[in-house]
């Protein structure tokens, strides 16, 4: 029995020794920083943290307590509030209310990062506040810029372009017809020119007979039905499209009126035959 008790005490001492070896023992800390002293064995009855005073330079907490033979083992946590050396034993009290005696000093050191006597960390630098209004001005400025851009797109360079490219009047029917008539009369016209001449002769009579807005096939029929225009169209068609055109076609005589054609000759005739021979 006695042997067994000795074995238990020995094992407990062994565990305590191992725990003590791994425990933190932070005796120095900066102002406001937490520090821990663990597995510290203190003599006498069980100790607790004394009620904190408002102006105390150290705040102490007892995190855990274990019996350790006839003594107790503690984990302590402390925070230093004033620079200097302090005794944590002053901030302990017996749980049973008896006087704390026989507990040696537990000295810790509190260091500071500020210069001595300085309480504030540094002067605050003035910072410009975020803008809370003033958008109306921005909108007006943006609107004015947009308007300037629009006006620039619409008007800048327009006058210059207008000056650079004067409108070239489209060639009139007479302008287009006359050289073709001349080239055909001279025998220089190719197939494309002859086809163009036929189209322009039809156009000429469409204009004279007021058939510009009539459908193309109906206009051709109307021209065919017209005395002078029909005769001309039939002869031109015979000359251009028949496999062997009749020899009786006198091309020079046929096209003679169109060599001296003027713009007024193409105006629609009302109520009279549109004779081109003057």
């Amino acid at each position: 029995m006695r042997v067994r008790r000795i074995a238990i005490v020995a094992a407990a001492s062994c565990f305590a020794a191992i725990a003590t070896a791994q425990a933190r023992d932070e005796r120095t800390a900066a102002v406001g920083m937490r520090a821990h002293i663990e597995q510290i064995v203190l003599p006498g009855g069980e100790l607790v943290a004394a009620p904190a005073e408002r102006a105390a330079p150290v705040v102490l907490r007892v995190l855990a307590t274990w019996p350790h033979g006839d003594r107790f083992r503690y984990d302590l946590e402390w925070v230093g509030l004033e620079v200097g050396r302090h005794d944590l034993a002053k901030y302990l009290a017996r749980k049973d209310g008896s006087a704390v005696e026989g507990v040696g000093p537990i000295e810790v050191a509190v260091t500071g990062v500020l210069k001595k006597g300085r309480l504030e960390p540094g002067e605050l630098e003035p910072v410009a506040p975020r803008r809370l209004d003033g958008y109306r001005t921005d909108q007006i400025v943006f609107g004015a810029l947009w308007l300037c851009g629009l006006l620039a797109i619409l008007f800048v360079g327009r006058k210059r372009r207008r000056r650079q490219a004067p409108p070239t009047p489209a060639p009139t029917l007479v302008d287009r017809l006359r050289p073709l008539v001349e080239s055909v009369a001279a025998g220089r016209a190719d197939d494309a020119a002859k086809a163009e001449l036929e189209r322009l002769l039809v156009a000429c009579w469409r204009s004279r007979l007021g058939l510009r807005d009539v459908k193309a096939d109906a206009a051709i029929s109307a021209i065919r039905a017209h005395g002078e225009a029909g005769a001309l169209l039939r002869q031109v068609e015979a000359w251009l499209h028949m496999p062997s055109p009749p020899a009786a076609i006198d091309l020079e005589k046929l096209l003679a009126p169109y060599r001296t054609l003027s713009g007024t000759d193409l105006e629609p005739v009302a109520g009279r035959e549109g004779a081109l021979v003057r």
């Binding site: 086809a195 204009s207 051709i220 068609e237 251009l240 028949m242």
Partner: protein, 333 residues
């Protein structure tokens, strides 16, 4: 007109034959002279014709009348959504007696095929027909069969009631040489139709009788054989096309390609069709050479279905018809 091929006996014979067809058809169909002309143009040039018009304009009667007049084999297919390609071209069927496959040729093996309401069939069927139209032969199983000559498809489509229809795409419309839009008859023509219909009477059938229709009026005796038709087709090939006319055709087709309101202008096939159709029209009008008036008369039927407006032009309310008229007007201005 001076002495030309038109004064030869052969040309005179062809002219008379074509005039007889028109007269015979005119006895049955009232006031569709232009449509009859277009059908004849299609027949003479081996082109195909698409007729667009509302129901009741005697499209079927017209085609049946033309086929009987020229003694051509005629078949009609009513296109529906459930029609299959094999319903048109035919298929291989198993003979129960011989246990061998034999080919059943479809109604496409005819001279004159009326494809009624072509836009009601599914695209698969449409393309089967249009392929046959283009190649003039069909393949059934592993065998390819040539179609009879002449072979002409006259298809119809209804411009209204578009629900449940499959519009022919431009590429397939291009296969049709002509697309003619039928219009209503004039009041005088319509009155004549009513007068003729009222005089049809009743046809006895065994112990009963049925009211006679215009189809009963069609005589079975043809005005000419298919030989004469072939002769007429050969005569079309003799119609002279001048260089100036070709210039006109190229110019007008090119203008459709450059027009700002047109997204799709006419294809080269349109130019070819324009020349071919103009030659046939010239022959029908007793000429052995084409004139610009043929071009103007046929431009709408040949070119309109080959043109497509831009999105902007559609939004502005323009029509292809209006744009083509504008091109034709500017062509001679």
């Amino acid at each position: 007109m001076t002495a030309s091929a038109t004064s030869t006996p052969r040309f005179a014979e062809t002219r008379e034959f074509l005039q007889q067809i028109r007269t015979r058809v005119g006895k049955v169909v009232v006031g569709q002279d232009v449509v009859v002309e277009r059908v004849l143009i299609a027949m003479l040039t081996s082109g195909h014709l698409l007729l667009q018009g509302v129901p009741g304009l005697a499209k079927t009667l017209l085609v049946a009348a033309v086929s009987k007049t020229v003694d051509l084999a005629f078949a009609r297919i009513q296109f529906t959504i459930d029609l299959l390609p094999s319903d048109i071209v035919g298929s291989d069927v198993l003979d129960q007696k011989t246990h061998e496959f034999r080919t059943h040729k479809g109604p496409i093996f005819t001279n004159l095929l009326l494809a009624d309401e072509i836009n009601r069939a599914a695209p698969k069927v449409q393309s089967a027909l249009l392929e046959a139209m283009q190649e003039r032969r069909v393949t059934i199983g592993n065998q390819t069969y040539p179609l009879p000559a002449p072979f002409l498809v006259i298809a119809t489509q209804n411009p209204v009631e578009q629900a449940g229809t499959f519009e022919l795409p431009e590429a397939q419309l291009d296969r049709f040489m002509l697309l003619h839009r039928l219009e209503y008859l004039t009041p005088a023509e319509e009155k004549e139709v009513l007068r003729r219909n009222a005089a049809l009477g009743v046809r006895r059938d065994g112990k009963g009788a049925v009211a006679r229709t215009e189809f009963d009026v069609l005589g079975d005796q043809a005005v000419g054989s298919s030989e004469k038709l072939v002769q007429a087709m050969e005569d079309v090939q003799q119609v002279h096309v001048s260089e100036a006319f070709l210039e006109h055709c190229v110019e007008i087709v090119n203008r459709t390609r450059k027009h700002p309101r047109l997204e799709l202008g006419c294809s080269p096939r349109a130019g070819i069709s324009l020349v071919k159709a103009s030659r046939a029209r010239a022959l029908l009008h007793g000429r052995d050479y084409v004139l610009p008036e043929d071009l103007f008369a046929l431009a709408e039927d040949v070119m309109l279905h080959r043109m497509r407006l831009t999105y902007e032009a559609v939004a502005e309310g323009h029509t292809t018809q209006g744009v083509l008229q504008e091109i034709l007007s500017e062509f001679a201005q």
